[in-house]
Subunit: 386 residues, 2 copies
DNA sequence: TTGTAAGCGTTATCAC
DNA sequence: GTGATAACGCTTACAA
C-alpha cells in the first residue's frame, strides 16, 4: 500500500483548503478547470518489456496437447465424451498457454448474436437513468448477457448513430429511451428478429413494446393535491413539452386546472427548461411576476433540484411538488413532496420482457404503464398566502 | 399520443395519494412491494405475424446485385476503386434488403478486438460510479468504441466472473474498480496484449496503470480543519478499512490525531459500515457514548448521507465532514463540508490512458493521483460544545 | 472416445 | 475495376 507523503498534504492545504469561496455541488467539467494541472503523476517501478505474443487458439492448444482441435473444443465446452486423462492434459495446456475461447468466433458460428444487449439512454449520470441501468443489468446478468450502455444526450441523430453501432455489433436486443421522434428506421431490423423495447417514452411510427410511467395520472394527482390546499396560481416548469413524458405532465396540469374551473395563465407556464440554468431563470421570472404563483409543479428530477435551489435561497413561501423522487428529498430544510416511481423496476421489467421476446414470446407488442405514487412530505403543505 | 383515462387518475388518488405515512427516499426494492400489482398492462393494437427471415449477408447482396462478394465489401467499406455505377447498384440492393454488416465477423477477421471496452464497477446506481462511467463513455465514443458496464457489487468472485466474461467477448481494453485483493490472474491476459487500467484503487500483485484519488491527503486536510476548530473527540465512520480507499482515509485520521498529540479513542472508530443501516447504527452508538464525539468524519458519499440522516433527526450539534461531494450537499439545512473530487474526470483520464495503450503507448505503468479539494460549507464550522 | 471437413460472414491477398 | 480464394477461430455434422 502506497501513500502520498506529507508534501502532498501541505499542497492540498495551501492550494485548496483555504479556498472556500466555492459553494454548491459542481458535478462535471467546471470542477477541474482550476485543479487539473495539480494532477500528480508517479511513474511505477518496472515494466515487462517483451510482448507481441499472439493469442493462443484452440489449434495451438490442440498441437501442444497432441490432440485434435475438436477435442479441445469438447474440453472447453465441457462436453461429456472425453476421457479424464485427455481432459486433464488439455486443461493443463490451456492453463499454461493462457488460452481463452474467442466468443466472437463462437457467436459468429452459433447464431447471429453476441450475448450482449444494448441500452440507449440520455445520460448515465442522471440518477433516473443510472437506476434504470441498474435494473436492466441485474436481469441481464441472470441471463448471462452483458450490457452495453450508450448515451444519446437527447440528440436524435446521436441516438440513431448509437443504435446503429449497437446493431452492427449484433446485440441480442435493444432497450431504448427514445430521443428522436420517428423510429420507423427500426422496422426492418425488428423484422429481421432483433427485439426492441422502448422505455419511458413510446415510439412513434413503430409498433413495439414499451414500458412507460403513468405521467399523466401521477401529475394529475399532484395537481389535485395542490388545488385542495387552496392553490389557484400554480406555476409549471417543464422541459420539452413535445416529448411524451413532458406532454403527459403538462396535459395533466391543464386538465386539472380546467376541471377545477380555473383558466390557464400563460405567464405561469414555463417550457423548455431543459437544463438547470434555464429552470432557475424560469423561477426568477415567476417570482418577479406582479402576482407570483403560490405553488410550483416541476416535471422532472433535474428541474426540481434547480427550482428548489432558487426557492430555498429566497424568502418566498411557495409550495412545491416535483415529478421523480430523488435522494435527500426528505432531508432538505423543507422536505419535498414528489411524484415517485421506481426506475430500477422499470429497467427490470423492460429487460425481462426483452428476454421473453428473445426466448420466442410472439405475443402482440405490449404497453406497460407503471404506477406512480404521491409522497407527501412538507413542501406541498405550504398554504397560499392571502 | 395516448393518455391514460380518468379512471387511472382516481385509482392513483385512492391507492396512493392519501397514503402519507411513508417518508424518506426509497430507491429500490422496498418501493414496489406495495405497488407492483397495480401495474397496468395495455395490449397494443396489432402485430406483424410473419417473421423468421434470415439476415442478409454480403453474399446475398452480391447475388442480388450481380456482382462479387468482394465488390460489396468494397462498397460497404467505402474503398475507392469502385465504379460509380456499381456502387450505386450495390447500395440500392443494400437498402432494399436491409443489409447491415456483421461486425462480429469483421472483427474476427481483422484483429482480436470488438471495438468495445469493458468497465467493471461496484454499482452503477451510486452517483460516484455513474459519473465515472459518464466520463469513460464520452472518451470511448470519441474513439468509436462502445462501453460495456458491469457491476461487481463489491464481490471479488463476481468481479472475476465479469472480467472473464468481458475478456471472452474480446473487449479491446479493461477498466476496473477492483473489489478483490489479488489480481495476479490478469497478468497472462495483459501479456497477451489487453490493456488494463485500475480506477480508484490500486491493484495488488500486478504492475499496471492506475488512476487514484488522493484519499490520504484529502482526508488529512479535512481532519486538520476539524482539529483547528477545536475538535478533539472526532468520530470516524467508514466502510471496509482494508480496501485501499478506506485504508488511506483511516490512516489520515490516525496520523492527524497523532500529529496533534491526541490519542486514538477506540470507541470513536466505526468500521464496516458498508450500507446505510450499519452507518446509521454506528452514529446512534456514537451518540449514546458517555462522551460522544463533537465531530464526525465519514469516508464516502453513501455513508455521509446515512450519517446526516441521523444527525439531522436529533438535536445534537455535531460537526461533520464527508469524503465525496454529492448533489444537494449545499442545500441541506446545514450545508455539508466535503472532500470533493471529480469522478467524471477520473473516468475520462482512465479512458484516455487506455486508448493511448491501445494505440501502442509502451511507457511504464503509471500511477496518477487526482487531487481533492476541501469544500467548506457549514457543517464543519460547528464548534465543540464545552 | 476421438477426429475430419465444412461453414459462420467478413476481410486480405493476389490474380484477372 | 473486379473477382476467386484463403483465412479469422470457432462449432456442427458426420465419420472413424
Amino acid at each position: 500500500m502506497t501513500f502520498i507523503g506529507r508534501d502532498t498534504i501541505s499542497n492540498c492545504l495551501e492550494d485548496y483548503a483555504v479556498n472556500s469561496e466555492h459553494k454548491g455541488f459542481r458535478p462535471l467539467e467546471d470542477f477541474m478547470a482550476d485543479a487539473e494541472d495539480n494532477t500528480q503523476s508517479i511513474a511505477a517501478d518496472q515494466h515487462d518489456a517483451e510482448s507481441g505474443k499472439l493469442r493462443p487458439t484452440m489449434q495451438d492448444v490442440a498441437e501442444a496437447a497432441g490432440v485434435s482441435l475438436k477435442t479441445v473444443s469438447r474440453v472447453v465446452n465441457k462436453e461429456p465424451s472425453v476421457t479424464e486423462a485427455t481432459r486433464k492434459r488439455v486443461e493443463d495446456v490451456i492453463k499454461s498457454l493462457g488460452f481463452r475461447r474467442n466468443d466472437l468466433a463462437r457467436n459468429l458460428r452459433q447464431g447471429q448474436t453476441s450475448s450482449t444487449i444494448g441500452l440507449v439512454i440520455e445520460d448515465i449520470a442522471n440518477p433516473f437513468y443510472s437506476q434504470l441501468a441498474h435494473g436492466v443489468e441485474s436481469v441481464a446478468r441472470r441471463y448471462n448477457h452483458m450490457l452495453i450502455i450508450s448515451n444519446s444526450g437527447e440528440d436524435p441523430l446521436r441516438e440513431r448513430e448509437q443504435v446503429n453501432a449497437l446493431l452492427l455489433r449484433r446485440v441480442s436486443g435493444l432497450l431504448i429511451v427514445p430521443a428522436g421522434a420517428d423510429h420507423s428506421y427500426l422496422t426492418s431490423e425488428m423484422r429481421l428478429g432483433t427485439p426492441v423495447i422502448f422505455l419511458d417514452r413510446p415510439p412513434e411510427n413503430l409498433n413495439v413494446d414499451a414500458i412507460l410511467l403513468d405521467s399523466y395520472g401521477g401529475s394529475y394527482t399532484a395537481m389535485e393535491h395542490l388545488l385542495r390546499q387552496g392553490h389557484r396560481r400554480i406555476g409549471l416548469i417543464c422541459g420539452d413539452p413535445s416529448v411524451h413524458t413532458g406532454a403527459g405532465r403538462v396535459a395533466a396540469y391543464r386538465r386539472a386546472m380546467t376541471d377545477w374551473g380555473l383558466g390557464l395563465i400563460e405567464d405561469l407556464l414555463c417550457f423548455g427548461c431543459d437544463d438547470a440554468i434555464k429552470a432557475e431563470q424560469a423561477v426568477y421570472r415567476l417570482l418577479a411576476l406582479p402576482q407570483p404563483p403560490t405553488a410550483i409543479f416541476a416535471t422532472s428530477n433535474r428541474i426540481s433540484i434547480a427550482v428548489l435551489r432558487v426557492l430555498f435561497s429566497t424568502t418566498h413561501k411557495i409550495a412545491f411538488i416535483g415529478f421523480d423522487d430523488f435522494e435527500m428529498a426528505d432531508m432538505l430544510p423543507i422536505p419535498v413532496t414528489v411524484i415517485a416511481h421506481n426506475p430500477t423496476e422499470m429497467g427490470r421489467q423492460a429487460a425481462e420482457l426483452l428476454f421473453a421476446r428473445l426466448h420466442g414470446d410472439e405475443s402482440p407488442p405490449q404497453r406497460i404503464v407503471l404506477p406512480t405514487k404521491l409522497i407527501i412530505r412538507s413542501s406541498s403543505e405550504i398554504k397560499p398566502e392571502r
